[in-house]
């Protein structure tokens, strides 16, 4: 049993761009669900818009990086408006069903053969990394130490990704201490009371939906940069994983989504590495390596159930400030 490799691979996930992307997407969901009480099940759709908005802008239209970034953000604002207008006046579970449906619409539109010349249909898109790599100020070579050693591009990607996550976390922390944040949390606790104070609840909810959605979109871009954009990555399961991270860390917290994402990915990587090697070593004779890979998804599902039932405030949450309303 090669414990060094298992721990090494798990440690890599601690600061990988994927972890950063999930952390940022979960932070967006914390704004929606934890602070405002909006049940957004379409975070995968926001991420897909970010990834495709960025990739298509660069590949099809030849935009610079900042232009592609703005296209993705713009697309997600429009998407949030489309989602919010019909549903934000309705009960919470309507928003859940509409957002999950809208995210699937987005994914199916990117998967269909009809627009294959732009979206690459089921094969997805790749080859959009050069523009981002060209901005890299680091000299070629290797940076970091041990499991965290990477080449210049990967180091640059990690620096940018985690800087964005930290900036977003600071923004959420400050904004939730502001008068705006107090109204938002008030809406979560008692919408009618806030309405009685003369606040336009609908507008506040819409702003929250847009803010969290933009976080999700930027997370989608970070998620797409180390790999290709493939539509099957943006299924509803992605949203459920982000919910698992959010609930693990604590829904109405700033640090919860970030630490939650680190714990989630390190544990997942450790677990799949361990099971794969244990199967190879013959410790688990009733299981194949493929089945070992599926076992972790079963555990994610069970973990979601157990957290919600036994520790609904997550690791960092405050029991008094429960995320679940109504």
């Amino acid at each position: 049993m090669d414990w060094g490799a298992i721990f090494g691979n798990a440690a890599v996930e601690l600061i990988s761009p994927t972890t950063a992307a999930y952390a940022l997407a979960a932070l967006g969901l914390a704004v929606h669900f934890g602070y405002t009480g909006l049940l957004n099940f379409g975070q995968a759709g926001f991420m897909a818009l970010g990834a495709y908005g960025y990739a298509i802008s660069i590949l099809t239209f030849g935009f610079p990086v900042w232009g592609a970034f703005l296209v993705g953000v713009g697309a997600s604002i429009v998407f949030a408006l489309i989602l919010g207008v019909p549903t934000l006046r309705l009960r919470a579970d309507y928003l859940a069903i509409v957002t999950i449906a809208a995210a699937e619409i987005v994914r199916l539109l990117f998967t269909t053969n009809t627009f294959a010349s732009v979206t690459g249909s089921a094969n997805g898109l790749s080859g959009y990394k050069n523009e981002f790599a060209a901005l890299n100020p680091l000299a070629p070579g290797r940076y970091g130490f041990g499991p965290f050693e990477n080449n210049a591009y990967d180091t640059w990607l990690r620096i940018v990704a985690w800087s964005i996550v930290i900036l977003a976390a600071l923004l959420v922390w400050q904004i939730m201490r502001s008068p705006w944040g107090r109204v938002i949390k008030g809406i979560r606790e008692d919408e009618d009371a806030v309405r009685a104070l003369g606040k336009n609840v609908y507008a506040y909810k819409m702003q929250s939906l847009i803010l969290g959605g933009v976080f999700g979109t930027i997370a989608g871009m970070i998620f797409a940069l180390p790999r290709a954009v493939v539509p099957s990555n943006y299924q509803t399961t992605l949203t459920f994983f982000i919910y698992a991270i959010l609930l693990l860390g604590g829904a109405a917290t700033v640090l919860g989504p970030i630490i939650g994402s680190m714990i989630f990915w390190v544990l997942l990587s450790f677990f799949s590495g361990f099971v794969a090697r244990a199967v190879e070593a013959g410790w688990l004779p009733f299981m194949t390596t493929v089945q070992g890979g599926q076992l972790r998804f079963i555990l994610v599902g069970v973990a979601i159930m157990l957290i919600v039932i036994f520790r609904p405030q997550g690791i960092f949450g405050n029991k008094k400030e429960l995320a679940f309303v109504r």
Partner: protein, 421 residues
Amino acid sequence: MLAILLLSLLTALTMATFSVSSANADEVGTEYDYTITGNVQFNGDALDGVAIALNGNGYRADTVTDADGKWAIGVPEKGTYKVTLDEDTLPDGVIVAKGGNVIEAEFGLTNRKSVNFFLGEGTRNTVNFFDQFVNRFVNGLNFGLLLALAAIGVSLIFGTTGLSNFAHAEMITFGALAALVLSVNLGLPIWLAILIAVVLSGGLGFGLDAVIWKPLRRKGVAVIPLMIVSIGLSLALRYLYQYFFGGSTSQLPGAGMRDLQFGPVSLSPIDLASMGISIVVLLAVAYFLLRTRIGKATRAVSDNPSLASASGIDVDNVIRIVWVVGAALAGLSGVLWAYFRPGVSWDMGFQMLLLVFAAVTLGGLGTAFGALVGSIIVGLFVELSTLWLPSDMKIVGALVILILVLLFRPQGILGRKERIG
């Protein structure tokens, strides 16, 4: 068979309108080392201007044949590519005779690979619009009816407990998987296998209620955490199925029977049986809800649980019955869905779940008959939309309708007008 042919024809048509037209034969991909070539001839005559499309390994290109009937496309690497001949660009009276108009090309040892299509004389099956419409309509009705079986369960559970049950998808898959194991692995006759599968599904509903939902209700867990628990349960069960059954698709016995022709409508005996079973079961459910004591009690709990409890109805018992009935209906729906798709796979229920939710929301959350109406509308819409939309977008249409209905009539078609804000 005809339906599949029509579908592929429609896709081909729409693809042709959208795909960017290409350059000449000898101009595509000349910068690459590897080339796929071909020669399109019919009875020794070269065919000019036939469109060829290539797709694979993240690369795509298209071209047309030149005056000699020849075409060539350069590709970046050795690998497997899908080569498609656009049948619409063939002259009248010529079709791809065998092997279909899509060929998988894989490179051997050399840097060139030649791909040839077998052309033959014949006419393509074009059916007039009215016949297509009637055919799709009947198929849509069939799909809507099987959707309704699942949707009524979702709606009853929502009505009595307030839970939007995401794990319903896995209850649908359970029925199909149970029928598969009983009929194929244990060799039972299919009617008995389906009957036992439905009973087992009901047992699953009973078990889930007893082990998970009843204790959580006792604990006083709110509706939204319950919904997230159901998502976790759905995820765990779905991958548990994949763990045991793998990612492949298997067929139930009798799937893929020959279609019978009724005028323009082609239906297999299975489709007919499926519609018959759906209608009988739905009528039985309607009788249960409207005429029996326990059905009336169910509707009372749906209306107002506290009042129902105060008037002496055993709410827990009603909810248990709703779970058993809902799960049994979902299991039956799963078996019929396995014949309709066709095939049994680990995530088949999840593929249908959003359409079930769309149907329930469309009809009005919590109303059983609304779910029936909503399901039939969704089923018809999904199938009829393939007349205009490419088949891989048919679900998109149904989901768009869902959002539009919420915009204009949020309480659903049969829902009561009340404040849901």
